[in-house]
Each structure stands twice: as structure tokens, then as C-alpha cells.
Assembly symmetry: C2
Homo-oligomer: 276 residues x 2
């Protein structure tokens, strides 16, 4: 239970009881028996359809019923996303949720990056939705007063960018947020923006390149993540790494606790409410 | 002339003579007067059309006439690419050239990455062409006996990847090279492949993220690049960074010298010859 150190909320654990219980010792945490196990080579759709008593599904249902304030999983991320959309639903106008995380900036600040891999083929309007979600996240969960939002590109000139970036630019211009335009990775990590918006394919490559480059730089333990927030669903869901260490898992639980207390979900509910 | 230290070939310099000559001191290098200057906000097309006596254009023409063995520029990269295609031509079947560079791997080897930004919207068949170009580069210029080639993706499973990656996979499978499949940045930088193929938008983001992350890792001087080779045109062209230091420029000249001596161009000419 190293993962529970510093966590103030009572924990509800979902899993195969015979496996989970012995790990708890005298800890008072409640165990919800989940007899079905989603395997890493299950498809997300099949897991959702055929394993309704998996820990992922039962946890997401408890969150939908507000029996828990947040749900953390280091299991099959595709299955977790599918279950989140199914059990919690998305906010009005959110086509698909995004994975978001705050990476360290060179100036000591945090760079909120999304999508980190939930949607690998994004339409331009999805990038605009990500901008709204990320801006709200930086404001509520990280306390940034007026977050500067940039669109990841291969140059800061508006004439650069691929077809997707060029199509998204006018949509981001039109949003009631502090959109600063296209931004390069170097400037984003140096502190030019608080929120970096990108397609899930590019975001996943960027995240994994940061991890790889930190490894090159002889800082193998400087992993940027406790876990990623699944943003756009009606509840706080944290998806951790499949190879999470106990410390990583603890960071993920602390992140979930912080976001649940931040009022992010009600802010998003209001921001994405159908206009009256 | 710090940039010429260690360079064994005689240098031919292209530029505004009144500006270049005073920098040379007693150095015996030949100066070709290029009275027109391509500015950073010129479009590549306009530079090609309207400034035929720029250093970029005159240098590329000297290369096309084999008066020089390689051409290095730190000027307008779009104009340099346009002039290279115009003056040198591309190999048979190469739709557009690619920018390629070797980045440091964690295992001490070199990771050849392309495209680094020449083509930001690639068709799947262009990715297959990049695989052939990169493989030949690793073999000839870096001396890797049987280069392992990977396609950059968000997971090593063939079910992952965006639409572009999924469409390119069967094309790369069919090539007579050692294609190992989709590869994540982490594994590529750890040493799983010698050549990493990607779209120019993604490659440019990856390159600039490595630079940014090395900065985060407190190694601000660990810049991976002397310059990038423009691969696919019929001559050795090195495009350096617009903010190159004298050391960077020297590295670019040494790279050009090495590639010119490697036999890469004749290998590519044979590899891309129309089949008999």
C-alpha cells in the first residue's frame, strides 16, 4: 500500500478480491470484487461488451453513481476510455475525450499538453475542443489565471503547419480563450504557453520523445507523469501507465484527488452547456 | 573562418563578396560573388523565380555542374530545397526530397530520422520512399551494414498508428529492406532501429522536442545537429540552422565532406534507377 501514502481520501479498490485483499494488510480500504479481467490484447470494444464485471467497468460505474469522486486505473487504456465514455458520457459537443498531462517547462512552470493519444486522427474541430478543455484544466486544476494556449506546429509562422493545423487555426482564433497561435515545441517548453494543443498521434510521439530524451540526458528517473487525466467525460478519470511503479500510482491517486477537489467537472459542465 | 577548421577540401564561398571577403583574412578560399540575398520572409517560390543570383541558387548551380562536391547553406531552408530540386533534380520516383539527420541514441549508436520537415503533409508512398532513402543513407554515410528501419508510431502494435501510418505499413513491408514495423520514440532512441521514418510535420516536432527536452535536462549545449542532409536530390546538400554558430557551420561542412566522399549519391542513383 505504498501507493496510498499521503492520500487523504478513503480508497475504494476494484479488482479480483483474492488478489487485492492480501496486499492490504490492516488497511481499512474497501475492496469491490471485480471477477473479470481485461487483458492487454483484448480490444476496447470487446472488453466493454464482454467483461461488464471488470475493475475498469465497475469503477467507472461507481464514479457515474458518484459513489467515488474519481477513478484511477493503470489497466488497458483503450478499454478505460471506452468505459468512461459509455458510463459517464461526454460533455455537450465533445466528440471524443482527450488525454491530458502537465509536463515540466524549462522556466519551472507546467505545460498542459493534449491530446496525448486518445484520438490519433483528429478533425480540426476536435483540436478546438481540446483547446477549450485544456484551458479549463490549466485554470481550474493548476490555478493559472489566464492560460495562454498554443497550437503545436513546425514553426510559429501561420504559413507553416500541416493541413490539419492550417484548418484548425481559424477555429482556435474564434474561441473566447487566450490563443497565441502556432507554437514550436522548443518555445512551448521554454514557457511561451501554458496549454499546448495537438493531435493525439503527434502528442503521443511528443510525450514519448520527452521521456526518451530525458533518458538520453542521463535522467532516467525524471518521468513526467503520474498519469494522464481523461478530459471531456463527465467525471474525474486518471489513466496511469501500464508499467506504473508504486510511486507512479501514488502520484496518479494524488492527481485524481486534486482534480476532483478543483471543481473542474462543474466548470466544464457549465462551459460546455448547450447555449440557452 | 573558425568554420573551416579541420575541413580538408578547398572551400568555395558563395555570397555578397564585399561582406564575405573581409572575413577571410589570408585564407585562400575562392569567393563567388552572389549579389542577391534571399530574405527569411521571401517565399521559396519567389526566391527561386526572382533571385537567380542568390548564394543559394549559384551554389546549387555549381553543384549541378560538379564544380563543387557538396553545397552547405544556413540560409532560407524552403528556398534551398526549391533551388535544389530545380537545379539538381530528384531521383526517379522521389516526389519530394526529405531532410535527414542522425540523432544520438541511448546505446551510443546513431538514429537516422527522416523527414525532419521538408514535407509536412506526406502521402503513404512518400513514407516508403523516405524508408529507402534513409536506409541507403545509414548504409553508405554511416556504415551500418544492414540498417533496421522502423516507422514512427504511437505503439509497436500494428493496430495502433494513425490513418497515414496504417496506410504506409504494407508499402514498407513490401520494400527490400530490413523493415521492423511500427516503433515508438522510446524504443527508437534506445536502439531498436537505425532509421526512423516519419512525416515531416511529426519529424520536425520530434526533432525540436528532443532539443527542448535536452534543454530541460540541463544539457543546453547538447545540440544534435550539424545540419540536415537534403536527401533525394541528385547532389549532396546540407541545410544548417539559421542560427548556426561557427561550430555548427563547421560540423555542417564536415558532414557534407563526409557524405560527398561516401558514395551515397551513386548508390542512390543506382537504387532509384528505372528498372530495366
Amino acid at each position: 500500500m505504498a501507493a496510498a501514502r499521503g492520500v487523504v481520501s478513503p480508497l475504494a479498490l476494484f479488482g479480483v478480491e483474492a488478489l487485492v485483499r492480501p496486499l492490504l494488510g490492516a488497511s481499512p480500504h474497501h475492496v469491490h470484487h471485480a471477477p473479470e479481467v481485461v487483458l492487454m490484447d483484448d480490444s476496447a470494444a470487446a472488453a466493454l461488451r464482454e467483461k461488464p464485471r471488470s475493475s475498469i467497468r465497475l469503477g467507472m460505474e461507481a464514479l457515474a453513481r458518484a459513489e467515488v469522486s474519481a477513478f484511477v486505473t493503470c489497466g488497458h487504456s483503450g478499454a478505460a476510455m471506452a468505459a468512461a465514455v459509455h458510463c459517464l458520457g461526454t460533455f455537450e459537443g465533445v466528440h471524443r475525450p482527450a488525454l491530458v498531462s502537465a509536463l515540466p517547462r524549462a522556466d519551472g512552470g507546467a505545460l498542459v499538453v493534449l491530446d496525448l493519444g486518445a484520438s490519433v486522427d483528429c478533425r480540426p474541430d476536435q483540436l478546438a475542443t481540446f483547446a477549450r478543455l485544456g484551458e479549463a484544466y490549466a485554470r481550474c486544476a493548476l490555478g493559472v489565471a489566464a492560460p495562454r494556449v498554443g497550437l503545436l506546429s513546425n514553426g510559429e509562422e501561420r504559413s507553416k503547419g500541416n493541413a490539419q493545423v492550417k484548418a484548425a487555426l481559424p477555429l482556435l482564433d474564434a474561441l473566447p480563450i487566450r490563443f497565441v497561435g502556432p507554437v514550436e515545441p522548443h518555445d512551448a517548453f521554454a514557457g511561451a504557453v501554458d496549454v499546448l494543443v495537438c493531435d493525439g498521434f503527434v502528442g503521443n510521439v511528443l510525450l514519448k520523445t520527452v521521456e526518451a530524451a530525458l533518458l538520453l540526458g542521463d535522467r532516467p528517473r525524471a518521468r513526467p507523469l503520474g498519469g494522464a487525466i481523461l478530459l471531456g467525460v463527465r467525471g474525474v478519470v486518471v489513466i496511469g501507465h501500464g508499467r506504473a511503479t508504486p510511486d507512479d500510482l501514488r502520484a496518479a491517486v494524488l492527481l485524481a484527488e486534486k482534480v476532483a477537489a478543483s471543481g473542474l467537472i462543474s466548470t466544464l459542465r457549465a462551459a460546455f452547456a448547450p447555449s440557452a
